[in-house]
Structure formats: structure tokens, C-alpha cells
Amino acid sequence: MAAKPSTTTTAKATYSPIDPTRKTRPPIFSGSDVDWLRPDSRGFHQCRPAFFRTGAVNSASGSAYAEFGNTKVIVSVFGPRESKKAMMYSNIGRLNCNVSYTTFATPIRGQGSDHKDFSSMLHKALEGAIILETFPKTTVDVFALVLESGGSIRFLVKQVDELDTLWFAVGDLPVVISCASVALADAGIMMYDLVASVSVSCLGKNLLIDPVLEEESYQDGSLMIACMPSRYEVTQLTVTGEWSTPHFNEAMQLCLDASAKLGKIMRSCLKEAASDEQE
């Protein structure tokens, strides 16, 4: 047992060699600045390019991989399968969601643990879209793993204690929700419609659609919508921070338009997979 460097010293305090020039936060936004370029040189109302592919995990009933810029997510769907023994009888199906992060998802190495907040929000965003009556007494499990979290790579979080506040930004949740609904469709779970989700950050006078981690750390308010584009119904709406009414209306409209477009991309990915199967 003498040569075990891997486990004996893990408790030792380590730190990331952080770029010292980043210690003071550079002003990202001054007053009515509108010419500011976003870190990934997008326009304010421009989403990151979205990419979906089904069938990422063979051992699952259905799965999908999504990539939005640097955000990379895998969602696996298992079931419908037997509910846990301790569960009460239910004549409609159950949905069970779990979101976890890899240790290397964030710029500073994290714990890679389950994200309870996102798990319950994912559940609530999908619940309304799934026809639970089609699988009575059983459970459908939706598990998501965030391989890499959005945000430009050069952006290093200044202090570890500030990571907590960033951790609870809406962050990768819209990607997880959209990816999960593609995975559910891949698994053949009956749904009223696909769920597409988009978020908007409010920075001063400007609205930034599909923000990355860096932008979220400067935001005054955030809005996230999960909706079923074809039915024009919202399954989840989360608003935090400071919003004026006209701003809020504008952001809503922006999100709904973007999710309609996102829905089309998700649909075309599923169509492609289905036509590949037929050949």
C-alpha cells in the first residue's frame, strides 16, 4: 500500500493557477453601450449554433447529444420501466429527472455532483409535454450529463467562492431541456409536442439571447422559457432579477421566436434519424 499517490493526498489543498490580471473584473458594459461585442462575437439577438444528434448512448431506450457552442450535453432516457418498490400505485406514468455535471464541466474543477435544482426544473419543464397516461404504473427516467458548460474558455472564474453564485445561474438548463425532449422523442415516449427552451439575459438596456456563463455573471435579470412551439404553449417560465415591463415583453417575444426556430432544428434532427433508419 506504500505506492498510492492517487488516493492518499487527494485531501491536500490545491488551487488552479489563475491569471492574476483577471482579479479585478473588467467593466464589461458601461451605461448605454450598444456597440459591445459578445465574447463569442455574436449579435445580441443571435443564438449559438445548435446541433442535435440522437442515439448517443446505445444501452438507453433513447438518447440525444446536444452542442450549443461550448455547451455539450448528453441525455439518456430509460423506460418506461418498473417504478421503485417504495412508490405508491399510480394509474398514470411517472417522470424521473436527474441532471449532473462532470468535474471538468466548469472552468474550475468542480465536484461533479448531482444538480438538484436543475433536476427539478427539468422535471417541471417536461412534465406538461409528456402524455403520462400512455405508460401507467411505470416510470420514465430522464438522465442528463453536462459534459461541458457554456462560457468562453479563456474566462476563468476569479475566486472559488464566487463560483456558487454562478452555479445557480440558469446556465445550461435550456440546452438540457431541449436535448431531453429530443431524447424522449428518440425513445418513443408520447408527447404533445417537443419542448424547446431558450433564455435571455438583461444587461442594462440590452437583451442578450442565449447567454454564456460569462454574460450571466454580469446580468441584471434573466428569463427562461420552455415551450411547445407547435402548440404555442409555455411549459415553464422562470424570471429572476430586475425587469421593466416593456423589456420583459420584448424578452418574452424574443424567446418565443427563438424557440420556434429551435423547435424546427430539433424536428429536422429527428426526421433525419428516422429517414436514416428506413434506408
Partner: protein, 302 residues
């Protein structure tokens, strides 16, 4: 004896899929008698293997390895630590193996998979004993600062031969690793920003350029199933669940034996069977070495 005989009779009438699910062992043995496996491989053939380097942008080194549909994502993050008193001029490597619930229907959140700690232990034992990494190379300032290497391996899809795929991804991630440039500032190691590299003379550079780690003997492995007189290389999870005796052989690139695991099982192996496993591994090492070389040179062209 009623059951096997009954299945013999039924097999002619039953649909293949139903037969496979009801009498899995008999189904496999029928194939084995013809020296073929249900996925059309010969007994000694491993599945298609691919490696892609630099899969994780936020890591210092990373790789994605696929053996058949078993998929492993390995990423390395470097942090600075104070070395221990016993080894003041050595860095440290910490290896974690994760099986998140996405990888298999058997893993549920909150309940870690049984296989995960076993594979993690085998991995850290194999990597530390193979001498692939020279820990002295990870030292920054003797007695003051050294690199702590965190290697995290995630199983994205579990379909048998988990250890082989995990080891392959780990090895590939290490060969992809770029040690970041750092300098000494007030007794603390800080990152050297790219643009300041020349002008910042008062800071003492510790690691001037991004460099790669020199790797010693690289370990490669092959897992085989022993069943009666048959040896099946690189099993799928279905095969692993039906026939339970596994032998894992780890050889380094110069064909020296690094480790050999046979964690029990119903079949007691003759030495000749173990030798056959080693011979199969030797062939496999050649294959894997070439795949790794190709993946590395593919990276350099880009």
C-alpha cells in the same frame, strides 16, 4: 436436466429473439460451437476501436475512446499543490472513474454502480505501477510547488470491457496533455497570460512553454471471457452478464506484463488458457498502439 433439453426442442420452433432472451447461455453456446459470436465477430476479435483527442476544450488534456459502443471520456485538469514532505520533488496523480446514470440502465442516480470503484482501483494501480508517468516531471519548485493532476474518466455508454476502454482513454488523455505555462509570483504559482509572456521579466518563469509529458511504457489491456474451452476477447455487456469469468491482461508497449486480473468466476483457468489470453493481448496491444499513434499524429496535422 428438464430445462436444457426442453430448450433444445423448442429452439427449432421459437423465434430467434425469444430464444435469445429465454435461454441466453444456450443461444451463445450454439454460436460458440460454430466459432462465431452473435455480433458476427470471431472469438478472438476485438470490436472496432477509435480514439479522438482533445474532446474537452476546458481541460488541459482529454480524449474520447470508443470500443464498440462502450464510450469513455477522459479529461485532465492540472492544479498546483504543495508536495508532501516524503516526496518534495514529486507531483501527484489522482484518478477518478465515474459511471453517471446516463451510461447504463443498471445505474440509478444516488446509487453508484458496483463496477465503478473496482475499475477505478484497477486503473490507478495500473497507471501508477506501469511507470508511464514520471512524477518527478510534475515538480515545479522543489519542496514548494508541484502539479496535482486530476484525471476524471466518465463512462458515457457501458457495453462491456469497461476497464479496457477506460485505460485507453486515460492513456490517450495523458498523451494529449499540455502542461500550462506558469510563473512564480509572491510565492504563489500563477498562470502566465499569453500576451505578457515577453515583457513580464520580474516574475520568475517556472514553466516557460507549454510542454507535453514524456510517457514511459504505455499500458494497454484486453479483457477476455473464459467459458468452458472458449476464450472470447473484448466481451459486450450481454456476454459479460451471461458468462462471468473474466481475465484482464495489461501489457505495456514493449510487451512486458504490467498486471493480470482474474477476479474469481466459475471457470478455473489452466495456465495454458492464461497464456492464450496473454497472446491475444499481445496482438491487441499492437493494434491499440497503432490506433493511438494515428490519433496523436492526426492531432498534430491539424
Amino acid at each position: 436436466m428438464g430445462l436444457p433439453n426442453a430448450s433444445e426442442d423448442l429452439s427449432s420452433e421459437m423465434e430467434v429473439d425469444a430464444f435469445r432472451r429465454l435461454f441466453p447461455l444456450r443461444y451463445f453456446e450454439r454460436h460458440l460451437a460454430e466459432s462465431i459470436r452473435p455480433d458476427a465477430r470471431s472469438l478472438s476479435r476485438a470490436r472496432n476501436t477509435t480514439i479522438s483527442m482533445g474532446a474537452v476544450a476546458s481541460a488541459d488534456g482529454s480524449a474520447l475512446a470508443k470500443i464498440g459502443s462502450t464510450t469513455m471520456l477522459a479529461a485532465i485538469k492540472m492544479e498546483v499543490m504543495t508536495p508532501s514532505l516524503e516526496s518534495p520533488d514529486e507531483g501527484c496523480v489522482s484518478i477518478d472513474f465515474h459511471m453517471p446514470p446516463i451510461c447504463s440502465p443498471l445505474v440509478r442516480p444516488g446509487r453508484p454502480a458496483e463496477a465503478a470503484p473496482v475499475v477505478a482501483k484497477q486503473l490507478s494501480d495500473t497507471i501508477s505501477s506501469s511507470g508511464m508517468i514520471n512524477l518527478k516531471e510534475l515538480s515545479l519548485v522543489g519542496g514548494k510547488a508541484a502539479w496535482m493532476v486530476y484525471l476524471d474518466i466518465y463512462c458515457l455508454d457501458a457495453d462491456g470491457a469497461l476497464f479496457d476502454a477506460a485505460l485507453l482513454s486515460a492513456v490517450a488523455a495523458f498523451s494529449n496533455l499540455q502542461i500550462p505555462t506558469v510563473s512564480l509570483d509572491d510565492g504563489k504559482i500563477v498562470m502566465l497570460p499569453e500576451e505578457q509572456k515577453e515583457e513580464n521579466s520580474e516574475k520568475e518563469p517556472v514553466n516557460k512553454e507549454k510542454r507535453k509529458l514524456t510517457l514511459g511504457g504505455i499500458p494497454f489491456s484486453l479483457t477476455c471471457i473464459l467459458h468452458k474451452n472458449y476464450i472470447l476477447a473484448d466481451p459486450t455487456s450481454e456476454e459479460e452478464s451471461i458468462m462471468e469469468t473474466l481475465v484482464t491482461v495489461v501489457l505495456d508497449s514493449s510487451n512486458q506484463l504490467v498486471s493480470l486480473y482474474k477476479p474469481g468466476g466459475a471457470v478455473l483457468a489452466y495456465t495454458s488458457a492464461v497464456q492464450d489470453c496473454i497472446a491475444l493481448t499481445r496482438q491487441r496491444v499492437k493494434e491499440l498502439h497503432q490506433i493511438l499513434e494515428e490519433a496523436i499524429s492526426g492531432m498534430e496535422i491539424d
